[in-house]
Symmetry: D2
């Protein structure tokens, strides 16, 4: 079987983990990595991560000229860098490359740019690309409809150093129409990687949907899942939520 | 608005709780209660449960002759007695009464009888009629399809005196194709009313679906939910699982 | 063995549960119940709670004159009424009766009164008399000393209708020197009876101490435990916390 | 302040994490590391782990002759290798070095050897050296004494690949006198690092003591804690359990 060729934007702490997940998966070929600056320029990400083969040649963002994507073709571009990467998407899209962006925050102008590309290319944008979190989001919305009288609270737990409220938790609150101030509880202790819990309280029963992250590789697995889902799809703007929602629809049990 | 008239089979510990839930809900009128023996014969369930009005006149199962259901018409019959009640369903069905059975175990012959009635009447049969448990069952089946490589374990916790493994947990194991011996864990301690947890373990993340029962009134609320769902439906055999699965389908979020 | 004679102040929702626990325990004889007003005056609490014997004759608080406690001697007075009961403690104390108060809130003046009685009599005062909650409180204080760098958060979950923050959670925060605004999280959903969790987060591990109330009978069991603990003790002011702390000391494992 | 000098046995997956924790802690100086074979011989563990200074020179176990410990003096030897390391303890003990062994399993003969050294030196042996697990063990034993009628169950959760039952969970069962077959439940799913829960079920309340490992660095922190505890102590055989039990005793809250 032909391998799926992937290029990655970003080679920081998370970017390395993402690269590692693609390197580990025999269905994929990591073709290149684009990063800021010239550190490890033209070395192979594979070698830096301890593999005994060459893959994921490292380029600087300065190297990405008009021919970059045509000369180094991939099936999908996976972006774990920062919001500035968005301005290179056009060149990639024009070269027919599917785009998977896991950037946590964009300005409106950047989102508009993404939407414009989605008219003629497959673009997936999800600030939280983890499979499990999106399952939680979709299940919670359905459950709220089934049990409209249930009281709902969100609890998110993260390591002490995380200052801001979890964006994922805010997204969940938003989807469920819950006031963040009142119904979102943030716990900051020790080294907890990440835990989200949605509590549905009814007079005689309680339902809890819980997601725990064990490590950042979950993001890489989410990206792998996203790239695979885009294959064979028509152009358009995708999110993990829409994909998972569609998978819910297709997998409703039949008795 | 016209009230929904209900008759109940069973007035034991659970039956009383069920009657109480219907008495408490202004959308319903509890017309009668049928129980074994002649205890509190012709008294009102409402009075025995502390209400200041007459509702739910108590009859013996011996009173249920060919005219019983026609003379005391209800919209739905709710059965929390035992498997022997099934033999009176035919008379009720012929009087056009919807049937909701929450009996935990039937013989094959009894199930066949229920199926035969479902040809011309609405019959809902669910050994676990709690809303939340059925939400768990449906969500777990979908999740298994979305994350087919996840390892799944079921943990059920109940009070020390409960001898057998939870029928609900066995049903979940069965729906997910899990070997009960290997993947179903039973905790028996103190006075825990009932807790079911389904753990989906992936390499980098864990999802937990959890349901806790606070008290038996959850069964009554499930019955209320079931009776309402049957209104306006065509004849057929329903279960809470099929109803909840259908509600999942109708409530997939649209973005 | 001679039974321990008990009198109860209070016959409301909680008071009835307390009475029931004492009636159920063969080590105790429920001698009388004192309540406000004249409802069920001179009836037996035992009969009202469904027992087939006479125990716990019901008196009005107006009946408690100077001779009441001498004429109806008990070993312990258990108070689940309200703060006004405290003004009858002196008469009881002078009759040599041990006092167990589970009143949730006293004014300073009332606390002073309790302290004055403790000089010559056994008086136990605990706003939360549940065994498990006090175990949590003591264990949390020790754990904080053993792991002084751990981050600590408290989560308390209760039914939607409970307006104020859990007094128990506030007490825990206070014992641990935690700012309530910052480290105490209150979840209000559905019908949760009561759950307290203390989370100790360290960089590489997390410890959780969790207590769940199943029903109010836990208060009755706490009172039974308290009355037994006071037997044979010298006069003084006791709390469940001091008793449990002492039990911790006596039960440190020896290897 | 003078740094505490430490030598480590073992430089496998766990050994490296342990070395890293000591290198990260300014109170300690990592003097040497002894490992099997000659890989990275005479290199510095610090450099291999990414530090910019020389510490933890690597030796082969073959290098440990009669003069090794006198020529490279340390305050404590920390052993995360395997049971064979025990045969070098005598030489270390004779050089006045405190010994901390975290080996998971010893033969009786090896335990006897350790005991003989404890007559004239400080020796700490704990198969599970994590602070939190030992806190759980001690707290559980006390709680069992305080609530002797509580039903107790142990649940341990680990990654799918872990074949055997958790040794820690077996130790807890043993300390509490619980039959492993009946009361110890093992969950094996995905990538869970390690979670132990002890459930105390009483008729009206449930207490849960829970410990979650986030990563292996918890072992290193346990070793750091152990080395510090041994300073200034008389010769003898110590375990983390005895140390934590003693810390419980010294930190019982006083009101």
């Amino acid at each position: 079987m032909k391998k799926i060729r992937v290029g990655i934007f970003g080679f920081g702490k998370t970017g390395k983990v993402i690269a590692n997940e693609f390197l580990n998966d025999s269905q994929f070929a990591l073709t290149w990595v684009v990063r800021k600056g010239y550190a490890d320029h033209h070395k192979y990400a594979s070698r830096l991560l301890g593999y005994e083969f060459d893959a994921g040649k490292i380029f600087s963002i300065e190297d990405v000229d008009n021919d970059f994507f045509r000369e180094r073709p991939v099936d999908a571009l996976v972006d774990f860098s920062d919001s500035s990467g968005v301005y290179l998407y056009k060149k990639a899209a024009e070269a027919g490359i599917s785009i998977v962006s896991a950037i946590s925050k964009y300005e409106q102008e950047e989102i508009d740019l993404i939407k414009s590309l989605a008219k003629y290319n497959r673009v997936l944008y999800s600030p939280n690309i983890t499979l499990g979190i999106n399952v939680l989001m979709v299940a919670a919305q359905i459950l709220q409809k089934i049990a409209p009288h249930a009281d709902i609270e969100i609890v998110e737990e993260h390591f002490k150093g995380k200052r801001e409220v979890s964006g994922t938790a805010k997204r969940i609150a938003n989807l469920l129409g819950l006031n963040e101030e009142e119904h979102l509880n943030s716990i900051r202790v020790g080294g907890i990687v990440g835990r989200h819990e949605i509590i549905f309280g009814m007079p005689n029963q309680t339902i809890r949907l819980q997601h725990e992250s064990i490590n950042r590789a979950a993001f890489g697995q989410g990206a792998i899942f996203a790239v695979k889902c885009l294959i064979g799809q028509p152009p358009g703007l995708y999110t993990m939520e829409t994909i998972i929602a569609e998978m819910f629809r297709q997998n409703i049990p039949v008795y």
